[in-house]
Amino acid sequence: MTDARARILGGIRAALGPRDDAAVAARLAHPPAHARVPVDADPVAHFLSKLALPTLSASGERVTSRAAVPAAVAAYLAQAGLPARAAVVPALAGLDWGGIAVHDTLDRDEPAAVSLAAAAIAETGSLVFASAPDAPTLFNFLPLHHLAVVAAADIVPHLEDAWAAVRARGPLPRNVNLVTGTSGTADIEALLVRGAHGPRFLHVLVVDG
């Protein structure tokens, strides 16, 4: 395998000829500014308007504080015709879940799971999840109904801001997942169907407090 490495790098060097790599160090240290997509002055409002678009096929609501999250989850489960039971990430286990039976493991066909986003992006209407011991990745992908909690203060305007927010927390985690609306596929006769493998339903709780 080291032989292949030497052959490939040798082939590249032969193709490129002698050159100066100062440009590489310079670019890694100071990436140039790039064109962005315009975003409203209020990223929270912009994010919620993206969530409402049919292209995302998701829903959202504002919640006054973290303490109000369990009630909002209970209301969602009731209107979806689901029992008062959910898988909840360890990061949110400390809330008072009241009448909802919570567990922190995931069934293969988990009906509903609640997870906590590290940030959200107004530009695209995306949620940003960073894997961690108290925030396993699969809570965002296994369930049929995915409820995501994100603090309004963690909603940033652009993609670049989201990367910066995650990297400010420390070394990159194993996964950073951007989730934008619900799973979908148009592979059969170009007809869009939601819930291909990931969640078919996504409900976002934007917490103000």
Binding site: M1, T2, A4, I8, L9, G11, I12, A14, A15, L16, D21, A23, V24, R27, L28, P31, P32, H34, A35, R36, V37, P38, T55, R108, D109, G125, S126, S131, A132, P133, P136, T137, L138, F141, L142, L159, E160, W163, R167, P171, P173, R174, N175, V176, N177, L178, V179, T180, S183, T185, A186, D187, I188, E189, A190, V193, G195, A196, H197, G198
Partner: protein, 468 residues
């Protein structure tokens, strides 16, 4: 005629006779190209972003070895094992070796065009390992034993009835389904079992980020995440040209990718993978491998088609191409169809493998107009034609015809005399009932011969000049 030419022409005739394919092609290309135009309205700086994307790709290619070494260093520091594979055979072997070391029986795969390119599934099967494609389109063509017909929507040529028949035959319980939603549900159930049974998950990578040693997937279904978070081992197979310097550079390309590929602002899932499970992680792989694959890319780097390495595999070019729109992906004979396939197939597999592809082009240039990284596709196809001429690959009748035309065209008086005589002969022949033109039987078999204009352009021009 060479075997390759005969095969291509047979596939083209077959495709043109396929009414169902025509419906599928029209539906898919019209939908995707229309959506693409629509979605650009919300991105005023789109053209600037294309310039930035082209420039960053050219910069990376000009320093490709340094960026690959930077990626390798940072990936290794994050706990990844980085492998290098120059040929398709070496790449297949690397994947099989990792799977064998993991005692893998079942492997789940998320969509990887590179995987198709190096034919990794066949190698796994030969090693007694079962690969399960999880992307719905790839799942369908895996069951059908076919190649993809579009790089973004691989099963776009299949009708729901054909897919229902495949699922009835292969899915547990042999369901008899008709609705598209039910077909998707059946695949969701069938593949979910595979996710949990898999010992190894294989993914591709849309990008490699040098500054952190991360890989990135850009998908819509959630299958990449389920493929890679559940098994003990995650293998990324990726072409060496996919490396970008920083997250900022990746973001430029991210803004272009879904817009160009699907006419969507963004895809549902963008995941950045950096190393294996961390201490305390409850999901994720214990081993994270990245197989960096060359497979003819250093050859492209060294030659006149280097810009082809900018390609981010969006498929916008084939959505605009009238030839792809008429014959579909399978006619191109390999895993990459449309304009990008017409360049990649001869340059990666050798000119002899696909002599007709660069010629099956009207040079309309729409592909280059929509390419997010401004690859001069039409110019490259024209150059490939010139290369084929120089290499003596053009068929004798065509060479003779071009030589005769060149002889006359470089002698203006002779050319005008021949044109004038030809026009009179044509007018006479039509009056006498001529219906078919010699050497143009294919064209005149289904078209009426047009009436001659009467006078040649040169004659009319001379008259106009005199009248001034």
């Amino acid at each position: 005629m060479t075997a390759a030419r005969a095969q291509f022409r047979r596939r083209v005739v077959q495709a043109l006779d396929d009414a169902g394919l025509a419906v599928a092609l029209d539906r898919t290309t019209t939908l995707l190209s229309g959506r693409r135009r629509h979605v650009l309205a919300d991105f005023p700086d789109f053209e600037r972003a294309r310039d930035e994307a082209r420039d960053l790709k050219d910069h990376v290619l000009a320093h490709l070895d340094t960026y690959l070494e930077t990626f390798e260093r940072n990936a290794t520091a994050a706990g990844a094992t980085v492998h290098w594979a120059q040929s398709a055979a070496e790449a297949r072997q690397a994947v099989v070796d990792i799977c064998r070391a993991a005692n893998a029986k079942t492997v789940t795969k998320s969509k990887s065009m590179l995987g198709e390119e190096i034919a990794v599934n066949a190698a796994l099967e030969a090693a007694g390992i079962r690969p399960v494609e999880t992307d719905l389109g790839e799942h369908i063509i895996q069951l059908a034993g076919e190649l993809p017909s579009h790089i973004v929507m691989p099963a776009m040529h299949k009708t729901r009835a054909e897919i229902a028949a495949l699922f009835e035959r292969h899915h547990a319980g042999h369901p008899k389904l008709t609705e598209v939603r039910d077909l998707v549900e059946s695949a969701r159930r069938e593949i979910r079992d595979a996710y949990f049974a898999a010992d190894v998950g294989i993914s591709g990578a849309n990008f490699l980020i040098a500054e952190t040693g991360s890989t990135v997937t850009v998908t819509n279904e959630g299958n990449a995440e389920l493929t890679t978070a559940l098994p003990r081992v995650h293998i990324v197979i990726v072409g060496i040209e996919k490396v970008v310097p920083t997250f900022a550079d990746m973001t430029v390309l991210l803004r272009l990718l879904a817009r160009s590929a699907l006419g969507a602002e963004f895809t549902q899932y963008v995941t950045v993978y950096t190393g294996p499970k961390r201490a305390g992680d409850r999901d994720g792989p214990q081993e994270f491998h990245v197989v960096l694959v060359d497979h003819e890319r250093t050859g492209l780097l060294a030659g006149p088609y280097r810009e082809m390495l900018r390609c981010i595999r969006c498929g916008a070019c084939m959505n605009e191409c009238p030839v792809y729109g008429a014959i579909g992906g399978h006619a191109y004979g390999w895993v990459y169809p449309g304009p990008m396939g017409a360049v990649l197939t001869p340059t990666m597999l050798g000119r002899d493998s696909a002599p007709d592809l660069p010629e099956a082009c009207t040079l309309n240039g729409r592909c280059a107009e929509v390419c997010p990284v401004r690859i001069p596709l039409a110019t490259m196809l024209r150059r490939l034609r010139a290369d084929a001429w120089t290499a003596g690959l053009v068929e004798k009748p065509v060479r003779l015809g071009v030589r005769l035309w060149a002889f006359a065209a470089t002698r203006p008086a002779l050319y005008r005399a021949l044109s004038a005589a030809g026009l009179r002969a044509y007018a006479l022949a039509r009056r006498l009932g001529l219906k078919r033109l010699p050497f143009a039987g294919g064209w005149t078999a289904s078209r009426d011969l047009p009436p001659p204009a009467g006078r040649s352009f040169h004659a009319l021009w001379r008259e106009r000049d005199r009248d001034r």
